[in-house]
Amino acid sequence: MIVNASGCLDALEAPEVARALDVFVTKTVTPLPREGNRPVRIAETEAGMLNSIGLENPGIDGLLNDKLPRLAEIGVPLWVSVGGFAAADYAQLCTALDDRPEVTGIELNLSCPNVEEAPESAAELVAAARPQTEKPLYAKLSPAATDLPETARAVQAAGADGLSLVNTIRGLALDDQTLQPRLGHELGGYSGPALKPIALAAVYQCYRATGLPIVGMGGIATGRDALEFLAAGASSIALGTVLFSDPDAPGRVRRELAHELEERGLSAAEDATGLAHGSRPATVA
């Protein structure tokens, strides 16, 4: 399954790109509308980019009343990414989404690097969301966790159905001349090709730690990249930064992945999941 990384595509502006995906994941929605951070919001670096959008979104009411009906018309399954600043926010958002048939899954953004974090742990946030909905809950984690496999096990125990790995990692870019931060918000989330080895390690470790379905993402730009994420343990992959330079990436990566699988005599993507782990068991305590 090929999806977009949350916040890397506006399906209402580019429905043809969304239709090339198996699932469209919305930009993170919060309980109240957010204008996001002041410009400058993006900065390219040698091997990726920084962003500090700051969860700009219309709030849950704006999503439910305005955007969701229009998104549903596009005809691609929808996951909604939700974010907040306390466990109660995640509970409220999942409650609001639970009876919406347009929504087939919920991603819990537990790791936006551009806003202040909720005081609770990732597992506590999942635990607050879990009783509110029967929809699949995917926990999106930061690669910067001190012990990511432990965090993954904790969110699994709290009821997560899957993991989205990884979010951007905090970074800084300075202006050549002034040596001042290039982003208005100073620090941003780093994404793109440089994130790939970090993301692969996260997928690899969390697959072994939990055996949960994983949406792997971080610097995927080709079918070969996608194959590596599957081998590390992902069952789906998400495209993020590559969508900015190549809106045709979903179809291209899908074709390239099919070719990679065929070359290895694999009949389906799921046959590639976990290949990097050899014969070792998927779940290791």
Partner: protein
């Protein structure tokens, strides 16, 4: 309709300090003057937004100034190189104006050759920081050229429909003098089609994505 294609570079002509990158048109439409295209910047992670400068038969041309790693990479392309080009994107100028006056500063003259052609070569006032930079004025017919310290706003004429493009201080000054002007703004963009939310600027008091709300906006 926007498309993304890999196009061959036909020529890279110096125009003063600027580069006029000419590519084969392929299946791309030139769009409306003031619209822009995302040009692959060789070996860089992100493409760069460039307004269309000229649309001769079978070609698209972009005038750019090499000011950073992306534009430097683009300024170094050679005939025969291939670039991914995606567009046309955004909203261009309204062309239903009675008495147009093009007002541009520096590399902000980039969309004017195509705009001038579409409007029947109206008068233009173009400002540059040096005579060398002012060589770009040769691309725009009927242009009055001023060089710093003279500013374009000193030559604005009343009773015209102003269509402007240039650095932000120039656009702000034009807006003061010509409240009905159409202004083409600039912002860093990662995608150009509304995906990244990187190019948000304050429009009418709220942050909006320049790539979908603009880049040409009404001044008032």
């Amino acid at each position: 309709m926007r498309r993304r294609e890999r196009l061959s570079v036909v020529a890279n002509d110096p125009v003063g300090p600027y580069s006029l990158i000419r590519v084969e048109r392929g299946g791309l439409e030139p769009g409306i003057p003031g619209q822009f295209f995302m040009l692959e910047a060789p070996a860089r992670p992100l493409p760069r937004p460039m307004s269309l400068c000229l649309a001769p038969p079978g070609e698209l041309s972009f005038l750019l100034e090499a000011i950073g790693p992306g534009t430097q990479a683009l300024a170094a392309v050679e005939p025969g190189d291939e670039l991914h080009v995606f567009g046309p994107l955004g909203n261009g100028y309204r062309l239903d104006v009675e008495k147009p006056l093009l007002v541009g500063g520096g590399i902000g003259v980039a969309p004017f050759p195509y705009l001038s052609e579409q409007l029947g070569n109206p008068p233009a006032v173009l400002g540059f920081r040096s005579d060398w930079h002012a060589e770009a004025a040769a691309l725009v017919p009927n242009a009055e050229v001023v060089v710093e310290p003279t500013l374009v706003t000193e030559r604005l004429r009343p009773g015209h429909d102003v269509l402007a493009c240039g650095p932000e201080p120039m656009l702000e000054a034009v807006r003061e003098l010509a409240p009905d002007a159409q202004l083409a703004w600039e912002a860093p963009m990662a995608c150009g089609y509304g995906a990244c939310y990187g190019c948000s600027v304050e429009i009418d008091g709220v942050l909006q994505r320049l790539c979908v709300a603009g880049p040409v906006l009404e001044a008032a």
